[in-house]
């Protein structure tokens, strides 16, 4: 379903709404279990990657929220899915302009990196430290985001 609605022929509002449905699948543990199952997880990962590359700000914001939700429930052992999403999120942070979206993306990175040496190594390889330093100095960054950056710096 998610793959269908995030395809190139879908209109932006429908794509956004499909991602919002996916976000709400994380409301309860029963559906969270379904999400981390093989079928749904790959569709969610594809939706996040496609959504973060979207040209519409509201689609990117919802995709960032979806990445954050996935970072909460995805088992640390699931390296392939984690690496794919972390790479997409890291790339999105570099180009994103929406303050709220940046906060969600960084929160997702924090969850993925926490107590996960593989992801910390990946983020170090992607020079996330430099990115965080640049963001911390950006006057347009929200105060809550700066606090989050300070936490992330400790991890990476």
């Amino acid at each position: 379903m998610i793959k269908t609605f995030t395809g190139p022929t879908s209109v932006a509002t429908t794509k956004m709404m499909a991602l919002r449905v996916a976000c709400n699948l994380f409301a309860h543990t029963s559906s969270q279990g379904y999400i981390v199952g093989a079928t749904c997880k790959s569709a969610i990962v594809d939706a996040i990657v496609a959504g973060l590359l979207g040209t519409e700000a509201n689609v990117r914001e919802t995709a960032a929220a979806l990445a954050y939700n996935l970072s909460i429930v995805l088992p640390k052992e699931d390296t392939d899915a984690t690496v794919e999403v972390v790479s997409a999120v890291q790339h999105a942070v570099q180009t994103e302009t929406s303050s709220e979206c940046i906060f969600r993306l960084l929160a997702a990175l924090g969850h993925f990196a926490y107590a996960n040496d593989d992801i910390v190594a990946l983020l170090q390889g992607l020079e996330t430290g430099l990115l965080l330093t640049r963001l911390a100095q950006d006057p347009s960054i929200l105060q809550k985001t700066k606090a989050l950056i300070a936490e992330l710096v400790q991890l990476v």
Partner: protein
């Protein structure tokens, strides 16, 4: 001699008291905490990262159900689907009984209002579920992907209900419903 016996009794009773079990659990938790602080399973566990440790999912709970349902009805009519209520509920009332169909729209609207008021709780009854799941599922399979916006808006709210979530994922096999939808569109592709 009597005093000695009493002391022994007190000691035995203390171990049997319900409070002792609570105390025992607390001591176990504290020792685990001390042990983890001394040798954490990962160095990150010693860091102060409250925002990262907070793990509440971001949910999209806002909505105006009467407007959402109305928008969907108008959308169906505008897209040449005739009397939308009857068309959509054809599986429930094959002869096209408009009153039956209208009742189902009313149930859907009422349930959506309750969900918006109490997101992440359990507001939908089994009888409501029996009406709404076929209706919402029928809409998903009848419309083209680019027409799905108002239907998805309804699903966005429905999925917030704990009963819906549980039913969809376990009792009625929601994975099957979602996969059916996915397969339906995949075939079209």
């Amino acid at each position: 001699m009597k005093k000695k016996k009493k002391k022994k009794k007190r000691g035995q009773n203390f171990l049997l008291r319900p409070g002792f079990q609570v105390l025992e659990t607390k001591i176990f938790e504290l020792s685990a905490l001390v042990k983890n602080s001394a040798a954490p399973s990962h160095p990150h566990e010693l860091l102060s990262v409250p925002t990262i440790k907070a793990a509440a999912p971001a949910l999209m709970t806002q909505g105006n159900p009467p407007a959402v349902v109305q928008k969907l009805k108008q959308f169906l009519t505008a897209n040449g689907m005739g009397d939308s209520a009857v068309v959509v509920c054809a599986h429930v009332s094959p002869k096209g009984d408009a009153s039956v169909a209208t009742d189902r729209w009313d149930v859907l609207e009422k349930v959506l209002v309750s969900i918006v008021q109490q997101p992440s709780s359990s507001v939908m009854s089994t009888s409501d579920f029996a009406i709404i799941l076929p209706l919402a599922g029928s809409l998903l399979t009848r419309l083209q992907p680019e027409q799905q916006f108002p239907v998805l808006d309804i699903w966005r709210l429905l999925i917030l209900d704990r009963n819906v979530s549980t039913n969809l994922t376990t009792v009625n096999g929601m994975p099957v419903v979602l996969e059916k939808v996915f397969i339906f569109y995949s075939r079209k592709k």
